[in-house]
């Protein structure tokens, strides 16, 4: 986030502007995914054939990935807690874990994609695959953006006086990360389980 005009100063509501800005941006993101998910639901309702759960996609792989991403949300929350305890070492540890878990999610997703490609499933082969690749693809891009954001935050923690001057950035990055996690909680049942 760019430096607000109020950096360090009181705002009308008492909420830091950068945090408010992230909430507003996330509201916008919710509507973006609502559009994509809504389109998938409408298209599915109009089709005679849609794969049964487990028919085309592997539920165990996706369940593992869900576990990885949920764990990363937990480590992110512990990172935010470390900021509140002014413990920069724990913060670095939990940020690193979050980044690793996020990368692991992307790795598993990439493996899953390679399996589909090997079976000749691409965007443009059937509407199910169009929806699958579009939803998971845009979610993947968001995960990647979150990993990069956390890497940037991690690099900031090595600056002197980070916790006091810029500690709130961890919470803002965390908000985004939890959102990315939440989107997956909708995508997992939508594409894999029902």
């Amino acid at each position: 986030m760019s430096a607000g005009a109020d950096n360090g100063q009181a705002t009308s509501t008492g909420i830091p502007s950068a945090k408010l800005g992230m909430w507003l941006f996330l509201a916008s993101e919710v509507m973006f995914f609502a559009g994509l998910i809504g389109a998938t639901i409408v298209l599915r309702a109009g089709l005679t054939h849609w794969p049964h759960p487990g028919e085309e996609l592997s539920i165990p792989i996706a369940a593992l990935n869900t576990f990885i991403l949920l764990s990363s949300s937990m480590t992110m929350a512990m990172g935010v807690a470390a900021v509140h305890h002014q413990d920069v070492k724990r913060l670095r540890l939990f940020l690193t874990l979050t980044i690793l878990l996020g990368s692991a999610f992307l790795g598993v997703k990439g493996y899953e994609y390679s399996l589909k490609f090997a079976h000749g499933h691409f965007p443009g082969t059937a509407l199910f695959w169009d929806c699958y690749f579009t939803l998971t693809g845009f979610h993947g891009i968001h995960v990647l953006a979150g990993v990069i954001a956390n890497l940037w935050v991690l690099s900031l923690t090595f600056r002197p006086d980070f916790l006091r001057a810029k500690g709130h950035i961890v919470e803002i990055s965390g908000l985004y990360w939890h959102f990315v996690d939440l989107v997956w909680i909708f995508l997992f049942p939508l594409l894999y389980l029902i």
């Binding site: 009308s12 502007s17 800005g21 389109a39 169009d130 579009t134």
Partner: protein, 572 residues
């Protein structure tokens, strides 16, 4: 303050983070795009007034579109598509939300700048990139997008039917969406978080209520348009079938697409584009609500009613989108629902109109140029709004759908409403922006010419629509039943050329006053809100010291006071 003075020309006027400079950048850019969009309309009016007549010099400008100066049908399709897209995406939305949103919000809430100045700069610079992408369509194989500003698939979704110009169009709109969303985040955060001490929500000027509601609409509706555009781009580039059904045959070849729904596009598109109609009218309503009390020398009638009716219009605006789709094959039961929700919009709109009339009632009216434009706005918007009720009514819409009645309606709302609102805003805040006043007699002549010719062009459209003339038609004279409209169309075209020419007077007044206008001083209109307490133009950082707000925004003619206006920070 001193650090701001050291900025070089580039940082100060081009890559500026000052909300006022960014607002002025949006103002100049959108005025240029509106002039361009207007010229596209002139070409259309040429073809409609004199179908098939040659304009030999146009062959040099558009050799493929007008060989020998005679327009081909495909070029006409590009013209109405780009006219709509340029006017809506690069004209009206940026001038109302971009220019005035940026310029006015921090000044009127008493903040030194936006919440996120650098994000604000990015929001501006995405705008010319988006415009260049969309307009690049004119220079590629097959020409610019030609499927209407609504870009309905399957026509827009197939490479076979629409060339790369359509891809550029969709990509440009996505970039513009980013620009709008970044701007909206800034506006909402600034209004919530950067109000001066004492500036409660109920002391905000109505223009800020309107811009705030607009920003919320932008924030929540634009991403859905972006999602739709991305799906359209995927259909065009990767061969997906989101909007493309099975069984389509182009040039004798059966296409491989299957399962998609063209009507899904319409739902997603209008989920944005109907709120966008309110994005394009609410700010103008806000400006008028600031201008009327100032030139009636009276407090606004029904402050809370006007403020909350803007919020109500915004909220109901999300529930009306499918009234564009009565004829699309959508379930008719759904049509009734959307008919009712659309009619409901008339209630908060009526609250506004009657409050404006109440403000004027027994005021001591000063007929300045901004006031004339504000009164023009109200009268023209009423015609636009009332014809909207015809179209919202399902059985009536079955007859009017896709006729010139719709074109007349949209122009009464977007030109008669939004543009008169924009003219009111420009003429009202010009002295604040540039420190000089615009020429009043020229301004008034410009208003009356615009008002006259606008009605001569747009009002006959209702008759054409009633008579069954379809919109988006290259040559209506091919239908014997429409030939008798030739004379009326010719008159409309001549009025359209005069309307365009009248804008030269505005451009001249604007540019002349920029350098030679009379010095304005802090408060030339004797108005009450915070921006009128700063020097004209205000310095970087706006206020020498943070203002402390003591009263509401429209304290005119307070009994027992010497002056007939009282600034928001003025002590008793």
């Amino acid at each position: 303050m001193s650090e701001h003075k050291r900025l070089g020309f580039v940082r100060k006027y081009i890559f500026s983070t000052d909300h006022k400079i960014i607002g002025i950048q949006f103002l100049f850019s959108s005025l240029i795009f509106m002039a361009f969009g207007g010229l596209l309309a002139m070409l259309m009016r040429w073809q409609l007034g004199w179908p098939g007549a040659a304009l030999p010099w146009m062959e040099k400008v558009a050799p493929a579109g007008m060989p020998g100066g005679v327009m081909v049908p495909e070029y006409y399709n590009m013209l109405f598509t780009m006219h709509g897209s340029v006017m809506i995406f690069f004209g009206v939305i940026p001038i109302l939300a971009g220019a005035f949103g940026n310029y006015l919000i921090p000044l009127k809430v008493g903040a030194p700048d936006m919440a996120f100045p650098r994000l604000n700069m990015l929001s501006y610079w995405l705008f010319p990139i988006a415009a260049a992408t969309v307009l690049a369509g004119f220079f590629v194989e097959g020409g610019a997008a030609a499927s209407g500003w609504t870009a309905y698939p399957p026509l827009s979704g197939l490479k076979e039917t629409m060339g790369p110009g359509q891809t550029l169009w969709a990509a440009g709109v996505v970039v513009l969406g980013f620009s709008s969303i970044l701007g909206a985040v800034n506006y909402v955060a600034t209004v919530i978080n950067h109000r001066a001490p004492g500036m409660s929500f109920h002391r905000l000027p109505i223009s800020i209520w309107a811009l705030f509601t607009t920003a919320v609409l932008t924030l929540l509706a634009t991403p859905v348009l972006a999602a739709a555009m991305i799906l359209l781009l995927l259909d065009r580039s990767l061969g997906t079938s989101f909007f493309l059904p099975a069984g389509m045959i182009v040039d004798g070849n059966l296409l491989p697409h299957a399962g998609g729904q063209a009507i899904l596009w319409q739902h997603l598109f209008w989920f944005y584009s109907h709120p966008a109609v309110y994005i394009m009218i609410l700010p103008a309503m806000g400006f008028v609500s600031d201008i009327l009390p100032t030139f009636s020398r009276k407090p606004i009638f029904g402050y809370h009613a006007i403020a909350y009716s803007a919020v109500a219009i915004g909220a109901v605006g999300f529930l009306v989108w499918a009234h564009h789709m009565f004829q699309s094959g959508m379930n008719p039961t759904l049509g009734t629902t959307f008919m009712i929700s659309t009619m409901v919009v008339a209630v908060p709109t009526g609250v506004k109109v009657f409050s404006w009339l109440g403000t004027l009632w027994r005021g001591s009216i000063r007929l300045t140029t901004p006031m004339l434009h504000a009164l023009g706005f109200i009268s023209m918007f009423i015609i636009g709004g009332l014809t909207g009720i015809f179209l919202a009514s399902t059985p009536v819409d079955m007859y009017f759908h896709d006729t010139y009645f719709v074109v007349g309606h949209i122009h009464y709302v977007l030109f008669g409403g939004s543009l008169f609102g924009a003219f009111a805003g420009i003429t009202f805040w010009f002295p604040k922006m540039f420190g000089r006043r615009m020429n009043e007699p020229w301004g008034k002549i410009h208003f009356w010419l615009t008002f006259l010719f606008f009605n001569c062009v747009m009002f006959p459209m209702f008759s054409l629509g009633l008579g069954g003339m379809p919109r988006r038609i290259y040559d209506y004279t091919q239908y014997p039943g429409l030939v008798h409209f030739a004379g009326l169309n010719r008159m409309m075209s001549m009025a359209a050329f005069c309307l365009m020419a009248s804008q030269l007077l505005f451009a001249f007044n604007f540019l002349y006053s920029l350098f030679r206008g009379k010095k304005a001083g802090e408060n030339p209109w004797e108005a009450t809100t915070l921006e009128w307490e700063t020097p004209s133009p205000p310095p970087h950082g706006n206020f020498a010291k943070t203002p402390v707000v003591l009263r509401g925004p429209y304290e005119f003619s307070v009994p027992g006071r010497e002056r007939d206006w009282q600034l928001q920070t003025e002590e008793d």
